[in-house]
Amino acid sequence: MSAPAPLRALRRPLGAVAGLWLALVLLAAVFAPLLTPYAYDVQSLPDAYQPPSSAHWLGTDEFGRDLLTRLIYGARTSLSVSATAIAISVFCGMVLGAAAAWFGGWLDRAVTVVVDLTWSFPEILIALILVAIIGPGTLGTMIAISVAYLAQFTRLTRAQILTLKGETFIEAARSLGAGNAQILFGHLLPNALAPVLVGAMLATGDAIILEATLGFFGLGAQPPVPSWGGMMSAGSALVFKAPWVILFPGLTVAITVVAINLYGDALIAALDIRAKLRTGP
């Protein structure tokens, strides 16, 4: 039997490079306190505006804080907020989409209308409105991002379940005495899972950008907690005086998002989703 799909994705060159970067960022975020020689929130004004050096690999910001340290702690904020938000979004989207497709009728129409309505706005707009209502901060950002991506997963799950409902193996399961719960949780949702998970992987990349955007506007994690967006915001005033302050967080966001997309593509190829949905001759 072959290795699981997430590992098979690493056999593709781009998937391997992307996976390596993501593993690096993840490990750095998890073990941040062990890896960083400085504290992320202790200011040291004499050390302000230092360019990259052997003491400060990526330089320091306007308060003399080590950029690498803040970047690593920022990974904690950015990744945990984005991933948690997408996880919430996937869970709620699957519940909503499955319920709509399974029960049909007025529930389906209601869910579809609301979802299509939010689908018609850009994610950033929905997120901004929600943060404005909830208030800035980590929790607000998380909720805002999860609602912004809810429509995507609801639609995807609903479409999957609707297609699968008509499949012969569902009729076969029913003819052998399977009940509603077994059909829904044993057959329909597992079959719908693969495309939704790949969608979640790709959406996490978008969510990191969205989180950074909200942070850049000062609506994300509040100082002194570092976030990649917040650091870029601070650096934007110093582009000419200390370009590294905005450069490194920006590069990190860009590389991480590209890596997630590349790994997601490799995962799609490894899962062979289309072939899996069709088992025909």
């Binding site: 499949e167 193996f169 009729e171 076969a172 052998l176 005495g177 057959h187 899996k276 088992t279 025909g280």
Partner: protein
């Protein structure tokens, strides 16, 4: 001996369309009843009615009754009917290519039936699954049980579907065109397997097909369905020797024979009428060589004691 499955003059309707009109069938233990007819004649509907699954496609039994082992299925609760399906009635679907869940291993899909209906532990269920697979002549059963559906051939998948139908140790198997989607050579194997099941286990088999050749090969009785009504029903030997209904003789005429001259294989002109526009009188009259004015106006009743036939002008080959 009363029949195991008794379909007693049922009418089935979807919305305002009356699709089955007074269809009666009986299948006994150890017997194979072939249910034949062209596409759209109501074969699969009859199967769904016997399984109590008509609501799935929005249909309902409006008259008559389906009795399983003497019990009226229409009077049962949903829960009782569900307990019957898989446990006492096994169902083999039409297309094995899509009848298996693509994201579950083969073995698990068979296991679940005996765990659900016989209350076996996972280990017992797996042992039973492997035993069934071996009986169905699946080589290396243990390896196949760990495989995914897309790794198997069509004939192998159909055997798995049959194993699923057998896992609950049913008394009746309903097979809806089990060989239509398969290669001719594989078809013969599957038919052979089904025939052996009836002989060895004494189960009853309702075999839905549109292939009169298959019927001649293994069935004990045959019921010919046309446009939602029974045309003829009786023992295979008698009906094949002397078909009374012109539709039956036409169907038999569609079987290729050895030594047939080129161009002599007959078809039946015309098509099965749609349910929205069934002809008056005998529904076969527009395609029938023997049609008379009587056929156009009066519905022929099902008469006879041996083979029963619904025709105003029964007789030998048309």
């Amino acid at each position: 001996m009363t029949a195991l499955l008794e379909v007693d003059r049922i009418d089935v309707a979807i919305g305002a369309l009356r699709l089955l009109d007074g269809v009666s069938l009986a299948v006994e233990r150890g017997q194979i009843l072939g249910l034949v007819g062209e596409s759209g004649s109501g074969k699969s509907l009859t199967a769904l009615a016997a399984l109590g699954l008509l609501p799935l496609i929005g249909g309902r039994v409006t008259a008559g009754a389906v009795r399983f082992d003497g019990q009226d299925m229409g009077a049962m609760t949903d829960r009782q009917r569900r307990a019957l399906r898989g446990r006492r009635i096994g169902f083999v679907t039409q297309n094995p290519m899509t009848a298996l869940d693509p994201v579950q291993r083969i073995g698990a899909q068979i296991d679940v039936v005996s765990r659900l209906h016989l209350g076996l532990s996972p280990a017992q269920a797996r042992a039973r699954t492997l035993e069934l697979m071996t009986q169905l002549r699946i080589p290396e059963a243990a390896a196949v049980a760990e495989a995914w559906p897309h790794q198997l051939s069509g004939g192998m998948k159909q055997r798995i579907v049959i194993a699923m139908a057998l896992a609950g140790d049913p008394d009746l198997i309903i097979a809806d065109e089990p060989t239509t989607a398969l290669d001719v050579t594989v078809q013969a194997q599957i038919i052979q397997i089904l025939g052996a099941l009836v002989r060895d286990r004494g189960v009853a088999l309702l075999l839905i097909t549109h292939d009169m050749g298959v019927v001649a090969q293994i069935c004990d009785r045959v019921a010919v369905l046309y446009a939602g009504r029974l045309a003829e029903e009786g023992p295979v030997a008698q009906i094949f020797a002397a078909p009374s209904h012109p539709y039956t003789s036409a169907l038999i005429g569609c079987i290729p024979q050895e030594g047939m001259a080129r161009g002599t294989l007959r078809g039946i002109p015309g098509t099965v009428p749609g349910a929205a526009a069934f002809p008056s009188g005998c529904r076969f009259h527009p395609r029938c060589p023997r049609a008379s004015d009587l056929c156009r106006t009066v519905v022929p009743p099902l008469t006879g004691t041996g083979p029963r036939v619904a025709c105003h002008h029964p007789g030998g080959p048309a």
